[in-house]
């Protein structure tokens, strides 16, 4: 167990140390989310009615949840690369704890997710977003956000080992996750959608999580959303972590 923790930290450190040296990744973490905030706020914002909230308040929790779900992309691309460049073979020939390669990757994602969420909140504050609930609620929201991002890291870890090239991971991930994030309450109120989409949007874990964030950060009525979001995140981890580990064993040739 001590080996698992220390090996996981070594791998997480490896993935974080390389970050500043890969400028394209840094751009993905910083410039891109800022760009989306500005586009939505100023291009669509005027046309979208969000009763009870200013669009800036409405948008920030939604776009942060969307953004964090994609944080795990780095894991998909990185694992795929490691697999094909022989690094996974090297790791597997070492007397290290087996799950550490995946656990370290996803742990590193938590750090980068925290970084990009912070940048988004700061951007939000500049364009008119503000917290309407207490500090504890705001922190609970941050915690929920990181948990949700962590869950999607496992989805992407699985995906990264399922497909044969980083490009495939990119397009499959994009096609699978992007519509999910849009058919939700992230950018528009769900009651504005056609009935079928609306039915889907209401049970979509993204909607549940975004609504939970709005209640924790903006004081919106929560219903069961906070617990619902936590359960969704844990359920996603419970399904995809074992799938990813099994896939890792197989993909690595065992």
């Amino acid at each position: 167990m001590r080996r698992l923790v220390s090996d996981t930290l070594v791998i997480a450190e490896r993935n974080l140390v390389r970050l500043p040296r890969a400028p394209e990744l840094l751009v993905a973490f910083t410039v891109q989310p800022i760009m989306f905030v500005l586009l939505f706020r100023y291009v669509f914002g005027g046309a979208i009615k969000t009763p009870g909230f200013s669009y800036a308040d409405f948008l920030i929790p939604g776009i942060i949840v969307q953004n964090i779900a994609f944080g795990g992309f780095v894991t998909a691309l990185g694992l795929n690369e490691d697999l094909h460049k022989g690094l996974i073979d090297r790791f597997r020939s070492l007397p290290m704890a087996r799950p550490a390669v995946l656990a370290g990757r996803t742990l590193a994602d938590v750090v980068t997710n925290g970084l990009s969420a912070t940048i988004l909140v700061l951007t939000g504050l500049l364009i008119g977003f503000s917290f309407h609930a207490g500090v504890l609620h705001a922190l609970a929201g941050a915690g929920l956000l990181l948990l949700f991002g962590y869950a999607f890291s496992w989805v992407f870890a699985f995906l990264g080992m399922l497909v044969s090239t980083p490009e495939a991971a990119n397009s499959v991930g994009f096609i699978a996750v992007f519509p999910l994030t849009f058919i939700s309450s992230a950018f528009v109120p769900v009651h504005s959608m056609p009935a079928v989409l609306r039915a889907f949007a209401e049970v979509n874990p993204f909607t549940v999580t975004v609504d939970a964030m709005r209640s924790l950060w903006l004081g919106a009525p929560a219903g069961n959303n906070v617990w619902g979001a936590a359960v969704w995140a844990v359920a996603i981890i419970a399904v995809f972590a074992p799938l990813a580990v099994a896939r890792y064993r197989r993909a690595a040739g065992g």
Partner: protein
């Protein structure tokens, strides 16, 4: 193969670095592995004496990499068993990983980390404390002449530098047993010679090495024993000299002044040859038993037949000749049909 049965009944303690000079560092029996319908290994026996170098020689897709992957615990065999430094590759896999080093076909280093960071990471994954791992990393970088590049991201390294770093990573834990999967494939001749020198240095210090190669000169230079692999089985084994002896004696090579004279030249030399002389362009190759007087006699016969000779030489058979004789095809020929290896 020298069918010296190993002694798997007495596992050596994991802590001991020195095995006796005659102890088996690797002993594999009846290894079988299939990938779907592709039969990669169909029953491989191997022995590597401690302190020696075994070269697995064979074309692409012969099964060399599969053997390495099984012996380094990356892959479980479908059937058969293997011990490496006295530890079973399946049942003692975790302990075995502490005692082996693997340098792969692809230089498995993290391109975004520096040379030193790569080695430190590997050291820590062997369970070394950070400071000790860094110290060992620096030691290895110095030894492999990479100290100047220690703090550069490895994506800026040349191919040869990457291979050296990959090899250094395999040596972090001072393993008594080293596996090298095509260590010089794709390297330029100078880097290749350099890496050969490094490997020879490790062997001189007592490291046991099992390496795969498709280069006959590489096996000839590095290996004390060679196992020739083709279609998932060992088709021949022995020292490089033993293998060459199996192909027969000397090769007399005559370069003709005029390629059109190949036929009369072959006729003139037929009665002194072991087998029918072979013709390739202006080159006539004649297998002969004895050395003494052969050149003089050949020149005399060719002169009488009115064949002009550009050059004539007697050489020992190379492993190319061995491969051709054993498999009926040249070693390099198969490079294109890539079967899952």
């Amino acid at each position: 193969m020298p069918a010296e049965p190993a002694t798997p009944t007495e596992p050596l303690t994991a802590g001991r670095q020195e095995l006796g000079p005659s102890a088996a560092a690797v002993s594999a029996r009846g290894l079988v592995k299939s990938y779907g319908s592709v039969r990669a290994l169909v029953g491989v026996d191997l022995d590597v004496a401690s302190g020696s170098v075994l070269g697995l020689l064979g074309p692409n897709g012969a099964g060399k990499t599969t053997i390495i992957r099984i012996l380094t615990t990356l892959l479980k065999p479908d059937a058969g068993s293997a011990q490496v430094v006295g530890l079973d590759v399946v049942h003692d896999a975790a302990r075995l990983r502490e005692r082996i080093g693997l340098a792969g076909q692809y230089a498995a280093v993290d391109e975004n980390l520096t040379g030193l960071e790569n080695l430190t990471m590997v050291g820590r994954l062997y369970g070394q404390p950070r400071v000790a791992a860094r110290r060992r990393g620096n030691e290895l970088l110095e030894r492999f002449e990479l100290l100047d590049a220690a703090d550069r991201a490895t994506k800026t390294y040349s191919g040869g530098m990457r291979r050296r770093l990959d090899l250094a990573a395999a040596l972090v834990a001072k393993p008594p047993m080293l596996f090298l999967d095509e260590p010089t494939t794709g390297l330029d001749p100078r880097s290749r010679l350099q890496l050969w020198g490094t490997i020879e240095g490790l062997v001189a210090e007592g490291t046991t090495v099992l390496l795969t190669t498709q280069y006959l000169d590489e096996a000839d230079r590095l290996a004390s024993e060679i196992a020739v692999i083709d279609h998932g089985r060992v088709i021949a084994g022995g020292t490089p000299d033993e293998l060459k002896d199996r192909v027969g004696g000397e090769r007399l090579e005559i370069r003709l002044g005029d390629a059109a004279q190949g036929e009369p030249a072959a006729r003139a030399l037929a009665s002194m040859a072991d087998e029918t002389p072979t013709l390739a362009g202006d080159l006539v190759t004649v297998g002969v038993h004895r050395r003494a007087g052969v050149i003089v006699e050949a020149v005399r016969r060719l002169d009488q037949a009115g064949v002009g000779v550009e050059d004539i030489a007697l050489r020992r058979p190379t492993l190319d000749d061995v491969f051709l004789a054993l498999t009926g095809h040249a070693a390099e020929e198969q490079q294109d049909d890539q079967v899952a290896a």
